[in-house]
């Protein structure tokens, strides 16, 4: 039995309508990762996070709370929580995260910004207008809440005169590139994942890492957006040997992440199966999605590391700063 679905989805819809996010974060939590990077505000090309990397530690914390209620008759408690959440944002209470957890996810955004700079790609950032793209509402069939959010994002991009968007996770890439044009009339912003942008530039690595890993394709990059070769070619040029697990590329096996909130038990079971397939090939697993990374990490046994592709790429393509 899952956690009470109706109240959980109700809260998601309420948050999106009222607070413009699935899990409304404080402003600093959204934009803090940019500290010291001097990324200009706005511009025709922007790096767009859709708050995904920033939100995952909060999703994690929230799921730990929700998991306590899986299989218990807690419908009433959830319905009370939903009513309270309408007037008071409960996210900071239900999804308490530590500075260390947040910093680990922010670091991946910093990696990506450094990689784009190393590749001499000019880009800006929308700061407080870097809004959540609404993917969860879309997936859960809350179509109207999603449509309203998509329109808000489109309006923000238009206001800033954005023509091109560089995304940093598969879900935001899919929403902006493939779903927005079907729900926002006239949406014609060009959308590319940073992996595509970097791969197009045919960069030369500054350091050949000489490491061996296995790569977990995200379902959304692989089967929705066709991003398959880019991470592989970038790693290969960086001197990384990429071993393919059982079920890879277009036939990849899900990390279980989409079920994390509503069916935490099932989600962990699927994640364990995937970690088994991956670690049979290499104990060093590389992902390209914050949700995959978090979900696989949760069940990975000692000795199996789950890291983001940007962790490796930053070492291969960004010159190491000379110590002062």
């Amino acid at each position: 039995m899952p956690v009470p679905i109706a109240s959980t989805l109700g809260m998601l819809g309420d948050n999106l309508r009222k607070r413009k996010s699935a899990l409304p974060l404080r402003r600093r939590a959204v934009t803090g990762w940019t500290h010291g990077l001097d990324i200009p505000r706005g511009g025709e090309t922007v790096l767009y996070t859709g708050q995904m990397w920033q939100m995952v530690p909060a999703i994690d914390a929230m799921s730990r709370q929700l998991a306590k209620y899986e299989g218990r008759s807690s419908a009433r408690l959830f319905s009370v929580a939903r009513s309270m959440n309408k007037v008071l944002n409960l996210t900071p209470f239900l999804a308490r995260t530590s500075a260390r957890e947040r910093a680990a996810f922010d670091e991946r955004l910093r990696n990506i910004a450094k990689l784009l700079k190393a590749a001499q790609v000019p880009f800006g950032y929308l700061y407080e207008d870097d809004l959540y793209a609404g993917g969860l509402a879309h997936d859960e069939g809350l179509d109207e809440a999603f449509r309203v959010q998509a329109q808000r994002v489109a309006d923000a991009l238009r206001r800033h005169g954005v023509r091109r968007v560089i995304t940093v996770d598969p879900h935001t890439t899919n929403m902006l590139r493939s779903v927005y044009p079907t729900v926002v009339p006239g949406f014609d912003v060009q959308v590319k994942s940073y992996l595509e942008v970097l791969a197009e530039r045919r960069l030369s690595a500054t350091t050949k890492l000489g490491e061996t890993v296995t790569f977990h394709d995200s379902c959304v990059y692989a089967r929705y957006e066709g991003v398959l070769e880019e991470p592989r070619s970038l790693m290969k040029e960086g001197g990384i040997t990429v071993l393919e697990p059982e079920m890879s590329g277009k036939l990849t096996f899900c990390c279980g992440g989409p079920l994390e909130s509503l069916f935490p038990g099932k989600s962990a079971e699927i994640a364990s199966r995937r970690v088994g397939q991956l670690s049979a090939v290499s104990k060093r697993v590389v992902t390209a999605c914050p949700l995959c990374m978090a979900n696989l990490k949760r069940v990975a046994p000692a000795g199996v590391t789950i890291e983001d592709v940007s962790d490796y790429l930053v070492k291969a393509y960004c010159p190491t700063p000379v110590p002062a």
């Binding site: 899952p2 989805l9 109700g10 819809g13 069939g141 809350l142 899900c254 079920l259 099932k266 699927i270």
Partner: protein
């Protein structure tokens, strides 16, 4: 079994519910990480037969789909399975969970 024509038209309105082309081969169910007999072939059968109660009675199962498209990548009939599940979710949200959207 009651055939609910209103339910059938709701599915058409909810998006492109294209399970009609299904040849019932079972590939999707065999591959699905959920390992649930109902998913997704049987569920679509019920929906196409207009068996509203059978579909809405499976609300939880409908929300357990990962939308991972592993089934779709191997479906010989090219059915948009994940999008069909999403369409069913919109109906469940409205008719079972009372999440009528303003």
């Amino acid at each position: 079994m009651k055939v609910d024509t209103e339910f059938l038209s709701a599915l058409k309105l909810g998006g492109e519910f294209d399970a009609r082309m299904c040849i019932n081969c079972g590939t999707c169910t065999a591959l699905c990480p959920l390992g649930v007999e109902l998913m997704p072939r049987r569920l679509f059968r019920y929906a196409l037969l207009g068996n509203r109660d059978a579909v809405l009675g499976e609300a939880e199962t409908i929300f357990s789909c990962l939308l991972c498209r592993l089934c779709e990548a191997n479906c010989p009939a090219g059915i948009h399975i994940a999008e069909n599940v999403r369409t069913l979710r919109t109906v469940v949200n409205r008719d079972v969970y009372g999440l009528a959207e303003a």
